[in-house]
Every structure is written in C-alpha cells, then in structure tokens.
C-alpha cells in the first residue's frame, strides 16, 4: 500500500517530466547545432511577455537554436534560480526580463563568471558590476511623452483634472509617468486657462482588477475628473469598467499604454482614447539577432530602445489584425 503510494508520486513526477519531453524540450536530441537559449520571462500571465517569448522562440529556431522558456512569476528569487539552472545545463545564452533591476544582480554576476552572455529585454538591470551583453527595450520615457500629447489632444482647450494609475514597482512605468508629467508641464507653461492638473497618482498594480478598484476610489475622491492615464492596457481597461459602472464613461477620457489586442479593440470602440504602442514581437526578434551577432563576433548596438507610436481610433479602424 505504502509502496503503491510512493509509486503514484513517482509516476506523477515522471508523467510531468514526460510531458515536457514532448513539449518545451523537444530539441534535446542534440541535432540542433548552435545550442540552447534560456529565457526567463517576468510573467507569462501578461500577454506582452507571451508575445516576447513566442517571437523569440520562432526567431531562435530559425537560426538553429533551441529555446527553454521559463516563467519567473514576478519573483526575483525564482528568476535567479532559473538562471542557476540554465548555467548548470550549459546554455549558450540567457535572456531575462529582470523582475527586480537591482536584486537580479548577483545571478547575472554568476552568469558572467561562468562566461555565459546575458541579454535583457523590457527592463534594464542596474545592479553594480554586472555585464549585460545586450538590451532591447521600449523607450518608455518617449512613450510617456506621447501619452501626454494624447491626453492634451483628448481634453482639447478645456483642460481639466487628470488621474494617473501607476505601477511603481516597475521602473519602466516610472519612466512612462515621468515622460507624461513632462509633456503636461510643457503644455501648462505660460497658460492660465485650460490647464491640465495631475491631481493624484493611484496604485493600479498594472492589473485589471486593481486598476478597477483604484479607479472606483478615484471617482469618489475627484468628482471633476476629465482624464486618466493608465500605465498599461489591463489597468486602463479596469478603469474603463469602473467609469462605466459610475455612469461617467463619457466625462472621463482614458489614455492607456501597450497596444495589446484587448487595448486596441477598446480604442476601436472608443472606450480608450489612444495608446502609445510597444512592439514586443520586435523585442524578441531583435534580442535573438543580438545573440547571433554576439556569437558571430560582430559589433551591435548594446542598448537599443524601440520608440513607441501613438495609436488612435483611426489607426484601429484600419488595423488588419482586429476583426
């Protein structure tokens, strides 16, 4: 009986291992020439990183690499364990979206000591003494400036009170809000009428449910709101739900960020005014191209920031990827 139970556990474990052999780890046969790339995503629950993972995998396989995709689930401890596991299994290169730009430092240093190049995308690591072979990310400050322009456009000459739904843990979002504030400050300069006032920054968690709760509170605290800047699409969509429930959807204009499918659909339907859009697919592809350049000994741009572009309703109506 006891042995049967032990057997059950072992079989369950074996099954899970077997499942992987058919799935993520299909290239184990050794037929792939150029080695394995280990990728640790910040969280695959956000579609953004899923697109990075998919485009990275497709491009890497085209170049003859095998890719192991892991999910750090926003936990830097898990992420650095994943780095250690990559090192133990002898990968050719490591790609990270650093969960914590400081605390990931020691893990990157261990990779440096083992001679395995580390590439980052999205967030940049800023820990001291770490060597990052290449970085591809969004120019978040420029995106914040565009978001500010979109807000100015949406509110028109009337101006008004604006709320920010923030996610402070991510430095990328801090840069977005910095850019947004800068654009608004430039607009307000020399202006006495129709000014835009940023009345508060609330924590929207970058998630739909938290964005919803923060917006519901924000409506109570600031009844005269004219606009909301949410630092990504999930929190923008949460804010929209809160505004609709309060019957204030027509009064308050929303500017989001990202350009995920759900966000672009909302822009098409007039629920969100505009998004500075990011290009996660380009991030995956360019990261692989950097790895190839590195291994081929060619020079390449060590830090590449992809500018965002503003996406409005008119763009959504011509977007072939929306149906």
């Amino acid at each position: 009986m006891k042995r049967a139970l032990a057997g059950t556990v072992a079989v369950a474990f074996g099954c899970a291992l077997g499942a992987c052999a058919g799935g993520t780890d299909g290239g184990e046969s050794g037929s792939i020439a150029r080695g394995t790339i280990g990728y640790s995503a910040m969280t695959l629950k956000n579609p953004f990183f899923k697109i990075v993972a998919d485009s990275l995998t497709a491009e890497a396989e085209r170049h003859g690499f095998d890719v192991v995709v892991t999910d750090a689930e926003r936990d830097v401890n898990r992420q650095s364990q994943q780095v250690d596991n990559f090192l133990a299994s002898g990968v050719a290169a490591i790609v990270l979206n650093p969960v914590d730009r400081i605390a990931i430092g020691p893990a990157v240093r261990r990779a440096n000591e083992a001679g395995v190049p580390v590439f980052t995308s999205d967030l940049q690591a800023v820990a001291e003494g770490v060597e990052i072979a290449g970085h591809v990310g969004t120019d978040n400050y420029q995106g914040g400036l565009l978001a500010g322009e979109a807000m100015i456009e949406a509110l028109g000459e009337a101006g008004g009170e604006v709320l920010v739904l923030h996610f402070k843990q991510a430095n990328s979002c801090v840069l977005r809000v910095d850019g947004f504030r800068h654009a608004i400050a430039e607009y307000n300069r020399d202006r006495t009428e129709g000014r835009i006032e940023i009345v508060a920054e609330l924590e929207g968690g970058g998630l739909r449910d938290e964005g919803y709760r923060a917006m519901a509170d924000g409506i109570q605290a600031y009844p005269d709101l004219a606009g909301v800047f949410a630092i990504n699409d999930p929190s923008a969509l949460g804010a929209r739900t809160a505004l609709e429930q309060a019957g204030r959807a027509d009064q308050v204009r929303i500017v989001g960020f990202d350009g995920e499918i759900a966000g672009r659909e909302a822009i098409r339907d007039g629920k969100i005014y505009a998004d500075p859009i990011q290009y996660p697919d380009r991030m995956g592809v360019m990261t692989v191209q950097n790895i190839v350049s590195y291994l081929d000994g060619e020079d390449f741009e060590r830090v590449h920031l992809i500018p965002t572009e503003l996406y409005r309703q008119a763009d959504a109506e011509q977007d072939p990827t929306l149906d």
Binding site: D25, I102, G115, Y294, G297
Partner: protein
C-alpha cells in the same frame, strides 16, 4: 505468535525489507525522485577541465605534429583558463607553435584572427572547447577546429547542480525546522514568509542607515542582521502570546501577523527609498540595496566549496536535532503536541513551551530572511511570498502529523529535499511551473493521505503477517 517463528529465510528477508521500506518511506521516495531526475536529464556534457585540455593538445599534435601554429580560444572564466593552460602546456612540451590566445568573447576571436592575418602570421588550427567551437569566428576561420569529445551524463547529477538544488532550498529548509516545532505542538505558522521579508528589510535598512552603508564594519553588519532576526523572533513571540494568553487559533493569529509583517516590510522599504531620493517623491517597493560588499558573504560565499547557506542549514539541523532528541525542552514539545491536558497535569510548562516554539519559528524565518537579503544584496519587501505553503509542505511530506505529537527533524530535512529535487528536476527538464504546481499538490495530498491511512495500514500489515 512471536515474529519469525516458523518463517522461511526468504519470508523473513521479505518482511524485514518491507518493514525498512515502510519506516523510511520518505527516503525511498527521495531516492526514487533522484533516479527519475537523473534519467530525465541524461544529456551531452562538454568537459572544460585540465584533463580535457590535455586531450585537445594531443589531438592537435596527432593531426599536424609539431609543425603547425595554433590559436587557443577560451572564455574569460576560471575553468576556461585552467583548460587553456593545459592545452598550451601540452603543445609547448611537444614544441608546437602557439599563434595566439584568446580569453574572451567571440568578438575577441575575430579581432585576434584578423590581427594574426594582418601580421602575416600563419594559422593552421584552433584548439578550444565545444561551446566556443560553435562561435562564428571560430567556424569561419578556415582552419581545422579541435575540441574535446563529449560524453553523456545526467545534468541533475553534476556537482554544480546538486549544490544548486540544496542551496536554492536552504532557506525553505531552515524555516521548515521552526515549522516542525510548531506543527509538533499541533499548531501552524502562516507568517513565516512575511517575517522572512521583514527581517531582510530591517537588516538592509539598518545596515544602510545606521551602521554606515558602504563603509559598514563586519560588526555593524552582524548587528544589522541580528536586528532583523530579533524582529522576526519578536513577531513569533506575538503569535505565541495570542495563541497562549488569548486562546486565538494559531491559524488566525499567524494569518494576522502574516499581513501585518508584510505591510511593515513594504512600508519600511518604501520609506527608505523615499529618503534615498531626498524625501520628495514617493518611494518604490524595490529591494533595499546594501552597499557593503561583506553583507553578501552569508548568501553568496562558500566554505571549502560548499555554499554558506548549505553550511548554515546543516549546522541548524544538527542543533535542532539535538534539541529535540537530547533535551528536556524537546520532550516537552512532543508532550504538548501529544496531549495538552495530560502534559499540563504532569507538570509541563505548556505556556512557556508554546511561546518558545513560536518565538523559535519566527527566529528561523528571520535567519532565512537574512540569507535571502544577503543572497540578493538587499532586503526585498516582496520576498518569501507563499513560502509558508512550501514550508508546511516540506514538513508534512517529511512525515510530521498536522494533529501534533508526531514528526522528526530528520524527516523534515528529507521532506525539504524531496520538494527541492522535484522543483529542480522539473526545472532542468524544462517543465513549466504550472505543471510543477500540479505535482506539488499531488505530493502533499499523497503525504497527508498516508498520514490518515497510517493506523489502518498498521492493522493491515499485522493481519497479513
């Protein structure tokens, strides 16, 4: 009927074996898991050692005797340098010419090849390891490339990986010690993950703001760490007080502390970040960075090649084992868990024992927090989320009964290692964390089921014998 009478020799052996298996089931499971992990991670291994370097040198000499000039390529790591040195020694002693050497990246190889060509030098062969033999400039240099042969071996069973397995889970194992004591008294402690974060943040903030930051002395850093552990122990004492003086169920008391401690850790971290940027802007809940390099020793240093967290874990396990098996306190803990009323009536200081147990559990969580903060060179307010569940899983899988009174420290060590091996085996084999959760859940259910079935099993075995 006395056992063994009228039994055949084969039957006796079978019974003994069954008995041994039954008593050490968790060890059997652990061994089985190691075996499965080894099979699943059977991969090609590429040696980078002094010996494989010598082998490459012999390959080169066999192919072109001593007449050729060779470029030696390696990365800028310790192992690579040893490997390259062995190649050079092998070539040197036979009188071959070394055209150049590269310790670096693919780009450095390209530049070196270009330099040799520009200087009009000849290049007849490249000697390197398997990894660098895939580099573009090595493949396109137009000369034969020599690298050591590979062999097959389980990646799981490499020294580096085995140390990884234990090191990555040393914090879980350390907390599991304290949790074992709590569970032995039929209690539970949900606050350990939050206390871990609180201890780490307090130690980091104290080191940065009170003990000199980058210039902090080892004594100052030690004081900062003790402050963190002390705060966590105090948290445990608070739970203990709620449980003993006010009869609050442990589940509820520690649930409250779990949120309280997490909130405090976040407030402290954000407050520190705000002071860093001059007080104006609001801080972010990122890790509180510790600038003193010595702070990282506990988490990232090693003694004789064994990472410090493992050493600390082993020392604590021996101490806890002695505490529970050789002292009056240990007997008291078992007595309280077995039957509180009986213990009280026979003169066991129940309240004091419970207070001490929760306090110790908090202190162990605090120690794990110090290890975590040291490992990441800073206190992370979000550290240790959901650790309580992993820790409880380790204790239960290690054979302790949630009803109290039954369980061993050694069992907990095995339990923690079972969890560690499952995690590592699945990680290395590339299984997504979602499937891992399913395996963990199944394992915990199986362990609890086994606990429930124990009396029935015993009856069953007696009957069958």
């Amino acid at each position: 009927m006395p056992e063994g009478v009228g039994e055949s020799a084969a039957g006796r052996w079978r019974r003994k074996l069954l008995d041994l298996l039954g008593r050490n089931l968790s060890v059997v499971v652990l061994a089985l898991l190691c075996l499965i992990s080894s099979v699943a991670t059977w991969r090609e291994q590429n040696p980078i050692t002094s010996r494989s370097g010598g082998a490459v040198a012999r390959q080169v000499l066999e192919a072109c005797q001593t007449t050729c000039s060779v470029l030696v390529v390696a990365r800028d790591t310790e192992a690579d340098r040893v490997f390259a040195q062995a190649i050079e020694q092998g070539l040197d002693s036979a009188g071959a010419r070394i055209a150049g050497r590269v310790f670096g990246q693919p780009r450095d190889v390209r530049l070196e090849v270009e330099r040799i060509a520009a200087a009009g030098g000849s290049l007849d062969a490249i000697a390197t390891h398997r990894i660098a033999s895939e580099w573009g400039p090595v493949r396109t240099a137009g000369v034969p490339v020599f690298s050591p042969g590979s062999y097959h071996w389980p990646t799981f069973l490499t020294a580096r990986n085995l140390l990884n397995v234990v090191n990555q889970n040393a914090d879980i194992a350390i907390i599991a010690l304290g949790m074992t004591l709590v569970i032995l008294t039929a209690g539970i402690d949900l606050s350990v993950g939050s206390l871990l974060a609180l201890a780490g943040v307090i130690a980091a903030v104290a080191a940065q703001e009170w003990f000199g930051g980058a210039a902090a002395s080892p004594v100052g850093l030690l004081a900062a760490m003790l402050l963190g552990v002390g705060a966590a122990a105090l948290g445990g004492l608070l739970s203990g007080t709620m449980v003993t003086a006010f009869r609050v169920p442990p589940f509820v008391a520690t649930l409250g502390l779990m949120m309280l401690a997490r909130g405090l850790a976040l407030i402290l971290a954000v407050g520190h970040q705000r002071r860093l940027v001059g007080g104006g802007a609001e801080g972010t809940p990122e890790a509180v960075r510790v600038d003193a390099a010595a702070f990282a020793w506990l988490g990232n240093g090693a003694v004789l090649g064994v990472p410090n967290p493992i050493v600390l874990m082993l020392v604590l396990f021996v101490a806890a084992h002695l505490l529970m098996t050789r002292t009056m306190f240990g007997r008291y803990v078992y007595a309280v868990g077995g039957n509180v009323e009986a213990a009280r009536l026979s003169g066991v200081p129940v309240t004091a024992v419970l207070l001490a147990v929760y306090c110790l559990c908090g202190a162990f969580a605090g120690l794990a927090g110090i290890v975590d903060a040291s490992r990441f060179e800073g206190g992370r307010p979000n550290a240790g989320e959901l650790y309580e569940l992993q820790v409880i899983a380790a204790v239960v899988v290690g054979g302790a009964s949630l009803a109290g009174g039954r369980g061993r420290i050694a069992g907990t060590l095995i339990g923690a290692m079972i969890i560690a091996v499952i995690q590592n085996g699945l990680n290395i084999a590339g299984v997504a964390s979602y499937e891992q959760k399913v395996v963990f859940g199944a394992l915990i259910l199986a362990a609890v089921l086994l606990d429930r079935l124990q009396p029935r099993l015993r009856r069953f075995r007696r009957k069958s014998l």
